[in-house]
Subunit: 315 residues, 2 copies
Amino acid sequence: MTSLKQLRYFDAVARHGHFGRAAEHCAVSQPALSMQIRDLEQELGLKLFERLARGIRLTPEGREVEKRVARILSDIRDLDDYAKQRGAPLSGPLNLGVIPSLAPYVLPPLLPLLQRRFGELDLSIRETQTQHLVDELIEGRLDLLLLALPVEHAEIETLALFEDCFLLAYPPDRKIDKDVLATPELLKSDRLLLLEEGHCLRDQALALCELRQTDHINTFGASSLSTIVQMVANGMGMTLLPEIAVDLETRHQRVGLKRFAEPQPFRSIGLAWRRRSPRKPDFMALGSLIGEMSGIENSGAGITGAGVEAELESA
Amino acid sequence: MTSLKQLRYFDAVARHGHFGRAAEHCAVSQPALSMQIRDLEQELGLKLFERLARGIRLTPEGREVEKRVARILSDIRDLDDYAKQRGAPLSGPLNLGVIPSLAPYVLPPLLPLLQRRFGELDLSIRETQTQHLVDELIEGRLDLLLLALPVEHAEIETLALFEDCFLLAYPPDRKIDKDVLATPELLKSDRLLLLEEGHCLRDQALALCELRQTDHINTFGASSLSTIVQMVANGMGMTLLPEIAVDLETRHQRVGLKRFAEPQPFRSIGLAWRRRSPRKPDFMALGSLIGEMSGIENSGAGITGAGVEAELESA
DNA sequence: TAAAAATACTCCATAGGTATTTTAT
DNA sequence: ATAAAATACCTATGGAGTATTTTTA
């Protein structure tokens, strides 16, 4: 009789392409795993792997079986998730993925709050770019994403939380009329400093000023907004800074900041999860928590008016 | 760690509403089954059943878990089915459901043919009315249905095989012009004998002559066409006889038979299976086999012309 | 109080571990 | 020749059976 153990081991081998590593991943010995695979192949009456000198390759049948097994294991996970969510809302392990241009600004206030309100929640954080987050969400290695919308994927459901305006950040010694609002045109007047390839923020900035990669953009591409802001402060160019990052990133760096003219450019921040996840109520609850939080943040240290350098001088 | 054994036992209890009978169905002792259920409830952290003096009742959570478990078990079955179909087309157990107004006419020629062509196929037949067949197909107790289309169900896929014309069968002593074709109007000239409630053939006949239940229809309702034809032969009324049944049913009964004027009324005969079943190739193969077969049948003992009593005299 | 599920206890099948051999490039 | 999977063999966990007690309407 087919057992979940067989399917779990099979799935691990299919993923790792290697019996030994799969065994390690499943925390069993390689022979134990080999046995289960042998039994599974026997029961299905199919050869699932070609055994090569280095690792293995899935047979065509193996590939189809892999799909079906992935679905079954995913449904098992969902069943456990449902039970967890029913037993105690917002409790148990939750693997959250966050994009790098949000994590440093959203997590510091969020994590202590969660700890206080949902002590039973065992949160793991993964910070990487959208594409990786989405892949890992689908694979089931992550449960929930906090990122910029939209996320276009049939298997994924999203919830918009708040809008995060882009501000123009420019070198402090650059003289720009304080009372004039920024425009996309203005971005072309100097070198534009952006995050490296793969960051959604980079793509959004490029889309906004309708530029191609090849135009007068910094060719290096930093991997953190913090670095970018330092570069701006040192007169190396301008950048587009999300409002949510302003507080933290301009605390120790003198840069000019300017709002855009209406319609202000912004990115939409939201949550994403597997459409079939039974923890949707958890995610919604977490979403409204973040929503409230960002509301408070914004109303507190609001950036109003066109020129906002005043904010910086206090640092 | 959740195991399939737990889910299988849980599913059985949910179905039977009774630990003892579920255990019997799973071919294990009642304590063995109780243990697995206890473990499952423990691992999920949910109470799945209310234990009553006589049997059990699902809790609301249990009901949700039941749905998820049913889906998982169904996917496991599909995985096995896929493997079987890949290993050897049209082999292994196949649970076929057939409506009563087809079984006696289609199965006699079909079964020996299947036996010859696909000796590995282990066919089980269930004969009952459409509604029951569909329910059992969805539950997974049947794999394939042979019935009258359409079958409207989101989870079910169908394949039309052939059209089966309706003929008017009337008492042999009734004088009707041999060269005149039947019309729906003619049906109202005498008592109409039909199968009992629940048979699709009854509904199709009623739809054809646009009659209500309450009109001049035989109130008993026989449970087999064979009985109906005997009643017709004894002058008790007329009936609508599917062409496929003519050969067998009029072999030993003298009845008048008459084709309808164009457009001839007919029923569409086809196969139906769970949309997600991986044995679709098997079903298609079986379908074309039946298609060919019925073609041969029809061309062999074709009923042509308006009056076909000649066919009967030979019996 | 009677039917049904839970518990107690025993046994054995089998999953898993270690050591070793076979296989494939 | 070497990395990797299969086999051999032993051990121990846990699933299953029988007998019995507890629970619930």
